[in-house]
Symmetry: C2
């Protein structure tokens, strides 16, 4: 990291990218935004953030349509696109803005989502964060942050760095709780323990919120079995998760307000779902280690079919 | 079976019951109909059957609302209700019409669907048939028979009888192809090999017809794995199914016109689905033999949740 004010290019004008971009800007970073469909509105008015932690108006340092417009490469490219490898070529989208000293920083759901950029930019530092947040894009240029906001951040595939510290300090200065991990892959597995059952069952179970899933004995039991399968894969990759993780996740979810998952919101909006981030990459990781995960694989077949119907 | 013209009371004014009732009447049986919501229309106009095998107008011998109205018990009570054990108490509905010499004859989907009546009427003969038919109730008193029609018929839990022969002859006389089996449970397993994957995936996979299920590599593979699990349960009950059954079912389904399953039609109409007939009883049978069927169990959890949402 060079000294001085860090320059950050946020790629993806969805809720997550613009929220954390706005926060980093509020902490003093020079934050730009690459966006396509929302370009005109954002160029004119910036991003209005309605937030439980206090509203913000984010005027990006630059608003661009293509990475090639950025000029001298930024210190960070923050990738906050949906992970849809069959539709979106992230490496291609960001390539023109990635210089030798640029760190590529993913804030995305799922597991294995850094692999394509780590391969395409194998000399660059890859950073990765898991976000625990409820934030929605309500209109072009408008987002609504309704709950949580915490990040767990580390270097990919492991370890930490000065840039991890720098980002953590910026986030903390902006009021975002940010923990550092030296094992981001484990952090992703920990989040998948929740995401695999609740995101996927919410869609396949006929528009089910978290309470409905827990209240039905059979789907609640299925959730636990799915969590156990995630744990088995994690353990095969040297990351044993706590023995009581399933029970803890159920308790935690019972205490939440009945909640529609982000995957269900995508489904209901007729948008492609993050099937590969949540299930596909996980299934392939299990295959590589010869782990039998029949329930996750069943979900993958069903969700892939359901997602295909969205696309049709 | 007494000599003379057989008397048959059809219970359930859905498409399957009224179609086979109409056929049996056309072959000379005295066929009555117990129906509730369609009572007025059917009492007035009977049942109009539009059929690829020739249209029929079925005027039931009697139309009744309750079994107690029937009088001297019939020779056969044909149960063609949906199998919804939590909502419908079949034994209770038919009890007043079941005499010592009455055979109870099920034409219903799934497996284990005879158990409640076999327990409640343990001195009566139980007959059971699997129907391969596309028939739809288009309005009260109107049904549309668009394809197939074949029955496989036997005594429950096994063997044959004079009454099986009698019904077979009536069906054949009416133009319905009817094969006799001395192992109706095996016949039901054979049909479940198709019903478990295609009925259930059609619902969980976001309104998928048979072609969509086969065209998606992951859901097609899942279908085969589900068929294998059905075969494992069948084998544990002493009914080994043919080794090539999965391939044959795929070939056969590929040759069909793209088809929406009956379960998907129920789902789309907001009606309860036959979750217990197709999955629940099967899961409990597997439990009794200690057979591990993680994929079918996953489907059961998801479909139970989806069905619960229909009810809400």
């Amino acid at each position: 990291m060079k000294s001085g004010i860090p320059e950050i290019l946020v790629v993806g004008a969805g809720a997550v990218g613009t929220f954390y971009g706005a926060k980093l800007a509020s902490a003093g970073a020079k934050v730009s935004l690459l966006c396509r469909s929302d370009y005109d509105v954002v160029k004119e008015n910036g991003i209005k953030v309605k937030s439980i932690d206090g509203d913000l108006h984010f005027n990006p340092f630059r608003v661009i349509r293509n990475a090639s417009e950025y000029g001298k490469p930024p210190d960070f490219v923050l990738v906050a696109l949906k992970y849809l490898p069959e539709l979106i070529d992230t490496a291609d989208i960001i390539r023109a803005a990635v210089g030798p000293g640029t760190s590529i920083f993913h804030i995305q759901n799922g597991i294995g989502i850094e692999k394509e950029t780590a391969t395409a930019f194998h000399n660059n530092e890859i950073l990765s964060a898991v976000a625990f947040i409820c934030v929605t894009r309500t209109a072009p240029g408008f987002i609504d942050h309704s709950d949580y906001g915490r990040l767990v951040l580390g270097r990919y595939p492991g370890g930490s760095s000065e840039n991890v510290e720098l980002l953590k300090n910026l986030f903390n200065k902006s009021g975002v709780e940010c923990a550092i991990t030296d094992d981001i892959i484990k952090a992703r597995f920990l989040k998948l323990v929740w995401n695999v059952p609740f995101n996927v069952i919410s869609v396949l179970g006929n528009h089910a919120d978290t309470k409905s899933i827990l209240d039905n004995k059979l789907s609640c039991e299925l959730s636990v079995k799915l969590m156990e399968e995630v744990c088995r894969i994690s353990e095969a990759y040297g990351r044993k998760l706590p023995d009581d993780i399933a029970g803890k996740n159920l308790d935690y979810t019972r205490k939440m307000k009945p909640y529609k998952t982000s995957m269900l919101l995508d489904y209901e909006a007729g948008k492609p779902m993050e099937v590969e981030a949540i299930l596909g990459n996980l299934v392939r990781m299990a295959d590589e280690k010869g782990i039998d995960i029949p329930r996750i694989r069943t979900l993958y077949g069903l969700l892939s079919l359901a997602d295909g119907a969205v696309a049709r």
